[in-house]
């Protein structure tokens, strides 16, 4: 466990709170790879299996934030800051419905 390695901007926290009121308990997974690869993915807790190779980096708002363990090491164990920007991304992340996308800064 690596708790305390992630935080969110006030704007992102506001969106998390709104999404949570709308969809119930949420979870974040740091994505990687193609297309919108470095985006954090925000989804209903029931929509994502968290596996033994995922690392919990902390909690933003009420949502736990995970990253694949190998990916975390390869990225050099950064301290993540989650922001939010206008415009939908192209992932299954819930804020896309509201024409927003979370961003992993730093």
């Amino acid at each position: 466990m690596e708790e305390g390695r992630v935080s969110a901007t006030p704007e992102a926290l506001e969106v998390i709170e709104r999404l949570s009121a709308q969809h119930g308990p949420l979870v974040f997974l740091q994505s990687g790879g193609c297309c919108d690869g470095s985006s954090p993915l925000c989804t209903r807790r029931s929509d994502l299996f968290i596996g033994p190779n995922d690392v919990l980096l902390g909690v933003i708002g009420t949502a736990s934030f995970y990253v694949d363990g190998d990916q975390y090491e390869r990225w050099g164990r950064p301290r993540f800051v989650i922001g939010v920007s206008p415009g939908a991304g192209d992932t299954f992340s819930l804020e896309g419905r509201d024409d927003l996308h979370f961003v992993t800064l730093g």
Partner: protein, 513 residues
């Protein structure tokens, strides 16, 4: 690619003289008809060239996905029972109509995606047509098999279609990636519900306008809208028999998870961080091959780096680094960035503000972790109407493979360069990544090319070439780059299931009871 000696810029869709007719609004393509979204909501589709609106497309919901699934299920039996001769004829007709409308589709796709029209004219659109022809052809040669288990017992193996499949398309090659997925699915006798990428839904609808009279109703259905709504409803549906996806690893995990929950197969293509390796012997002569190798490095800027196999890590042998990079940087400095519909433009605009923002962020990360910026590094604000476009300068960093810019796919025109001493170190660096989609290898020594090519853990190793995507050459990932292959007749296996009729011709009982 050399700069052409004539000047010409296509008129954007909808304007006088443009090859692309444009409506103010488009609908979903379901059951061979144009169907308005159930909730009546639409989104603006923007061109990255100027940041301005092109048209409106449906902002669909789960209810629209159900309509598309209804249409697909209504069409699946007739299409599965259509002879391969007739299916093949339909695929060839699609190819013909794509070729006949090459300029229209190329301009539409360039305008929507931001990529230069010279790429869509020369690659995306002709390749899309060729993929339909390839699968029209290989399906005719497809056979089941017969095993004689013993004198009186025969196993007949048939390939049967899966039924209704879901296909989620990325934004980087909207029409070509749709064709990569649709052609084999249809050839194998499946019907499909396609979800285009959110930034690029419209050019696929332009393709649907063309094929509407060719393809039986319900065989191809297209529903546009947000991934979190349309993509999720489609991928998690109990009414699909398979899901195919190209995109990032997080959504890829969710896709595979839904497939597991519904006990159906999935194929995923999730990107890479492809090494492009240059051995010292490329500089053994100043000839065409060296010129080709230099271009091979610059290909990281192809499609503004928005390619899953972008050769975004250049590994250059130490002894030639300075001389080779001088040439490469000179070539990079000459890249013409500009209006995507100008036939001389070599690099256009990133697909969205989200991508532009991500690239900017990674450039900052690169600087902060101590990588040396060799060229570029800034958003490119172009004059006039292009000022609102999402242009980023072709960028090169020098650093080492442990840096984050060497480990994560940036999906922009950002190259990370490092050096190696010998073949062993080149291999170690090449494989030191989570991903394994593509790799490039440049050497005049064919034995070394073979050794390295076999040792690199990637699904595609371009040897003395890069960014070629011919039908008939298998494409797909090792490691975290995904599961399954595209572009090859083996895909027919991904889109069929095997039926074995085990038949006894013996009148005798087993004698057990």
């Amino acid at each position: 690619m050399t700069v052409l000696d004539k000047e010409f810029t296509y008129a954007p869709p909808g304007l006088a003289g443009s090859p692309v007719p444009l409506k103010e609004r488009y609908d979903n393509f379901i059951g061979g008809r144009w169907v308005a979204p159930t909730k009546g909501e639409y989104s603006v589709d923007v061109t990255p060239a100027t940041g301005k609106s092109i048209t409106e497309v449906p902002r669909s919901t789960a209810a629209d996905v159900e309509l598309a699934l209804d249409a697909a299920h209504a069409a699946k039996t007739a299409w599965a029972e259509t002879s391969t001769t007739a299916r093949s004829r339909v695929l060839n007709a699609i190819a013909d109509v794509i070729d006949a409308n090459r300029e229209m589709l190329a301009v539409a796709e360039s305008w929507e995606n931001g990529k230069p029209v010279r790429e869509t004219l020369a690659a995306d659109i002709p390749l899309a047509a060729d993929h339909f022809r390839y699968f029209a052809s290989v399906i005719r040669g497809e056979e089941g098999s017969i095993s004689e288990i013993d004198k009186d017992t025969i196993a007949y193996q048939f390939h049967e279609p899966l039924g209704v499949v879901a296909q989620i398309i990325p934004f980087n090659f909207p029409i070509l990636m749709a064709s990569w997925k649709i052609a084999p699915a249809l050839a194998a006798g499946n019907v499909t519900v396609v979800k285009p990428a959110s930034p690029t839904p419209w050019s696929i609808l332009k393709l649907m306008e063309l094929i509407e009279p060719i393809v039986p109703a319900g065989v191809i259905n297209v529903v546009t809208g947000p991934g979190a709504e349309v993509g999720m409803a489609l991928a998690s549906s109990k009414r699909i028999a398979k899901v195919a996806f190209t995109g990032e690893t997080g959504t890829g995990r969710m896709i595979m998870q839904y497939a597991a929950q519904n006990l159906i197969p999935s194929t995923t293509e999730l990107g890479g961080k492809s090494p492009n390796i240059f051995f010292d012997d490329v500089m053994a002569a100043d000839d065409d091959f060296l010129d080709k190798a230099v271009e091979g490095l610059v290909l990281y800027a192809f499609n503004k780096g928005e390619v899953c196999t972008c050769p975004s890590r250049a590994l250059i042998q130490e002894s030639i680094y300075d001389r080779f990079m001088d040439r490469a940087l000179e070539r990079i400095a000459q890249i013409r960035q500009g209006h995507p519909l100008d036939i001389n433009t070599q690099i256009g605009a990133q697909v969205s503000t989200a991508q532009l923002e991500k690239i900017t962020n990674y450039v900052k990360i690169g600087r902060d972790e101590g990588a040396e910026l060799l060229i570029g590094g800034e958003r490119n604000i172009l004059p006039g109407e292009l000022a609102g476009g999402y242009y980023f300068q072709p960028t090169v960093f020098k650093g080492n493979n442990k840096m984050r810019i060497f480990q994560e796919e940036i999906f922009g025109p950002v190259l990370a360069v490092t050096t190696f001493k010998d073949e062993a170190e080149a291999l170690e660096i090449a494989n030191d990544t989570m991903y394994g989609l593509g790799a490039g290898l440049w050497t005049r020594d064919t034995s070394r090319a073979f050794r390295m090519g076999r040792a690199i853990k990637a699904g595609r190793v371009w040897t003395n070439c890069y960014h070629l995507y011919p039908a008939g050459a298998a494409f797909g990932g090792y490691k975290a780059s995904g599961v399954g292959r595209e572009n090859h007749k083996m895909m027919l296996d991904h889109y069929t299931q095997t039926k074995c009729l085990l038949v006894s011709y013996s009148p005798k009982a087993l004698g057990l009871f």
